[in-house]
Amino acid sequence: MKGCLVWILAEQFGGKVQDISFELLARGKSLAVAKGARLCAVILSSALPDEELRKLVEHGADCVLAMESELLNQFNIEPHAAAMLEAIEKYSPHIIIAGATSSGRTLMPYVAMKSYSGLTADCTILEIEPETGLLLQTRPAIGGNIMATIKTPGRLPQMATVRPRSTRSCKRIEGRSGDIIRHSFKTEKVTSNTRVVDFIPAEDEVSLQDAEKVVIIGRGIKKVENLEMIRDLCDVLGAALGATREVVDRGWLSYPHQVGLSGKTINPELCVSIGVSGAIQQLAGMQTSKKIIAINKDPDAQIFNTADFGIVGDLFEVVPMLIERIKKGALTW
């Protein structure tokens, strides 16, 4: 663990290292290089096989610190926080980057409070300030209207979360070498007041935040019956379906589909917005998508200012025609 000042919090589910871990390693790598430090992936779980932990090394970790206990198999806040705090106390990292996931967003604030240090949520840019070696954490603020750059001077560890899918994973290098340290976490002193009693997998075909392609619909689709056409488009594109708050508030789609300030933030390769006006709070949920296509009948709709490709027209003409072209094999991918 010598020189491992930069940590990322890897995640596992059902004994498998999750993709967010590899994305975080990409973030961590550039910080570690800038600091001239080694990169450590810390993982909290029951004992995982070597080949699973080696994936973290092959994706860029110089060192893997596995805090192991049966109590850490599922996410329960008290044992997870205790294990993380023990790891921090033992090895004194300067920086910890975690995923803005359901567990990361629960654990990291808990740890931040207990260690009296700062945590910045949903950072889009992470850099090292050359003069001080401090972590510069940049995030959208006030509905994405401004970007705020935040520092945690004088306190350690400096902590930040980044949204899943906001970073490309490091390429896997087979046979890459690194240390794996297994640390048996003694749980005698920790009681968990929470207990996971059941898990219900999502019915949705694709998780919105993991999807490479997303179709977002707004009020412009007019009525719930028109969803069928949109679902057809999602099928032919292989896209997940998202919606603005207006659509969810009308009960046309459930809340897990909501994209925007009060819903999910997505970061897909392709975002096709249909009948979406492009109000600030909508854009906040999708404006970092790699490519944005907008279909809207209003030429002055704000969405066109944030799009790469726009069609001003009637979505009820455009969408069926597009579906048909794709069905006939118009796409080369």
Partner: protein, 267 residues
């Protein structure tokens, strides 16, 4: 059952405007509202109270004007309200806010459950709930989308996770953060509104709390905003109008070409 709800007064972000020259946000003429996501927490608290009986208390930290936010939740049915307010609290980040709120909660007394909204629409961090739980040394379950049942000192809830839902049994006292799905916030009643006008908003200042003055406000905050900048708009939109002799099929053909030019998706 004693249920505390943490609420925040926020500017109505929808009506906020950018000052194009300075890149800052003008709050002039912007209305203050109860953070919309906190209303779901209020509703969950009221429903629990109806089911198992008890007392509901709302606590807010903010400027004197935040009193109106507390009155609003009284009009929905919350019984007791506290405003944690002091000039020295200004500029608190999530750590200092949670430290102060946690302290105020200890001062207010015993609770079985604290319920928070998922996050505030202005700060947008979602950190104050879990941080307050950490300060108080109670468990937290975040992203709760269903409250199932209360049996004795246990509450069973569902929380949203990346690939589904986890059903979690929690020993109280505990803190939950709830998402929109949990409940549909009720509207204020006329009686409620009348009551809200006269209800006492109990104020807690720094002097009322057992806090370390070095740990509150800007000075006590571990984080510092060092720079504010405008997000860069780098997109240039390839626009295709339809109608007026411009057939939809042409635009769709261009769209197909655009999709085919996207390398990363085709990888």
């Amino acid at each position: 059952m004693r249920i505390f709800v943490l609420i925040k007064q926020t500017p109505e972000t929808r009506s906020m405007k950018m000052d194009e020259k300075t890149g800052t946000v003008t709050r002039n003429g912007v209305d203050n509202i109860v953070n919309p996501l906190d209303l779901y927490a209020v509703e969950v608290a009221l429903q629990l109270k109806d089911k198992v009986s008890g007392e509901t208390v709302a606590i807010s930290m903010g400027p004197p004007a935040a009193e109106s936010a507390l009155r609003e939740v009284v009009s929905m049915g919350i019984e007791k309200v506290f405003l944690v307010c002091d000039k020295t609290f200004a500029g608190s980040d999530t750590w200092a806010t949670s430290y102060t709120l946690g302290n105020a909660i200890q001062r207010i007394g015993k609770f079985d459950l604290i319920i928070c909204g998922e996050r505030a629409i202005d700060g947008d961090t979602g950190q104050v709930g879990p941080e307050t739980a950490a300060y108080l040394g109670v468990p937290v379950v975040a992203y709760v989308n269903k409250v199932h049942e209360v049996t004795g000192n246990e509450i069973k809830v569902s929380r949203l996770v990346e690939n589904g839902e986890e059903i979690v049994s929690v020993k109280m006292p505990a803190l939950l953060t709830v998402v929109k799905e949990t409940a549909e916030p009720r509207l204020p009643t006329l009686d409620g509104k009348i009551h809200a006008r006269d209800v006492e908003v109990i104020k807690l200042s720094a002097a009322d709390l057992n806090i370390d003055p070095k740990k509150v406000g800007l000075e006590g905050s571990p984080t510092r905003v060092v720079k504010i900048s405008k997000p860069q708009i780098t997109r240039k939109c390839e626009m295709h109008k339809t109608g007026n002799k411009k057939p939809v099929s042409d635009a769709v053909e261009s769209l197909v070409n655009f999709l085919n030019r996207m390398e990363s998706v085709s990888e």
